[in-house]
Symmetry: C2
Subunit: 231 residues, 2 copies
């Protein structure tokens, strides 16, 4: 019998459905942003409809809010709840020691805020996101508009190979908070902790895409099936 | 002969005029925000009109832009210049070792951005602003709107006595970048460096009002005359 080879899209769907199993009745659930998270949100929508699951969603982007509303998931803002039971989100890169890069979708700030107030935090990815060391994926840095070019030049002088993120129309991408994103093409991040502290200190940096020591569980879709790692 | 006792307002005006002496022809000048800085900007306007001083101003707030424009000072945004020769700004509190608290006027983010790219940085204050240790003046922290209440609760639990800054109409104050300000009533800041690093790390904190190791010169208006300190 020939094994069916799953596409990346099918792997994403599988982990999305698997992650939704961790969502229990009456939970307040942080809903991540991105293509893998979308499958998880679709599955929660199905469970609400077909299995009478009752949850409150806390969204991490305008895009996710729209999807969740269409599915009939009741929503609250992060400031309307006391805490979040569980947040499920995707990631752009995960290292062997469970550090991650997020922000490929541009929602890193709200994603980090919701994750910060979550009791449990799960990442769902396909196996292409697992790396030995972070850095091949460009690191997104959300920056205040005023002085953004000065910051860009500063990153350039540091050898961080910055690029302003742009829209398909070639305009500077604007985040849900009204800021720019500068992607740093670093190739290898030798020490994410030190880089994170450095970026935190720069004036004009609102937040960066290094999610360090935050995740509790990682669900990975591989061609040989699902794998779950606990941190 | 009886000495004339100067009011606080007269002291502010004196240091404003004194600071304007450091502005030379063809300079790119960062223009601070607040009542003391206003006197300095008025004096620059007078020099442009009466003494044909030629400068370009880089402003730190919408309020300062308005004042400078009315005085005929040519303006550029921080991203339109390569660097700033000299920034002159006021401060809310200055410690013995030249650390400062700024942001009483709500413009700390743009003020810090402009100061970061300035070759020289001068503070102008009346003597009431000089303190042994920082902290009696509430420390402003500019925070992202999303999750601001969570952050407030977090500050409360840390014993930082947070207060959302409000307008005269009782609404939450909004900064020029569209964020909130939480003022921390700390009374004494034992170690500003460590507190600054801690605040930099918090998710949702855009910037804080601790200006550490930034200033080169402080001009102080005292009842016995002007005093200038170099750092």
């Amino acid at each position: 019998m020939r094994e069916k080879v799953l596409t990346q899209e099918e792997l994403k769907k599988q982990v999305g459905i698997e992650a939704a199993k961790y969502v229990k009745n009456e939970m307040i659930v942080g809903l991540g942003t991105g293509s893998t998270a979308n499958y998880m949100i679709d599955e929660l929508g199905r469970k609400i409809k077909e299995e009478h699951l009752k949850i409150i969603g806390v969204t991490t982007s305008k895009a996710t809010s729209k999807q969740a509303q269409a599915l009939g998931i009741p929503l609250k803002a992060i400031d309307e709840v006391e805490y979040v039971d569980l947040t499920i989100d995707s990631a752009d890169e995960i290292s062997e020691n469970f550090h991650g890069i997020k922000g490929g979708g541009g929602a890193l700030l709200f994603e980090k805020i919701v994750a910060s107030y979550s009791r449990q935090y799960i990442w769902i990815v396909d196996e292409s996101k697992l790396v030995k060391q972070l850095g091949a994926f460009p690191l997104p840095v959300e920056v205040v508009k005023y002085g953004a070019k000065q910051l860009y030049r500063f990153f350039e002088n540091k050898g961080y190979h910055p690029h302003f993120r742009t829209t398909n129309e070639g305009k500077k991408f604007i985040t849900d908070s009204g800021n720019y994103i500068i992607d740093l093409h670093l190739e290898v991040i030798a020490n994410p902790i030190i880089l994170g502290e450095e970026l935190d200190k720069f004036v004009g940096v609102v937040e960066h895409g290094l999610f360090l020591n935050m995740v509790n569980k990682v669900i990975v879709g591989t061609k040989k099936g699902l794998r779950t790692y606990s941190n």
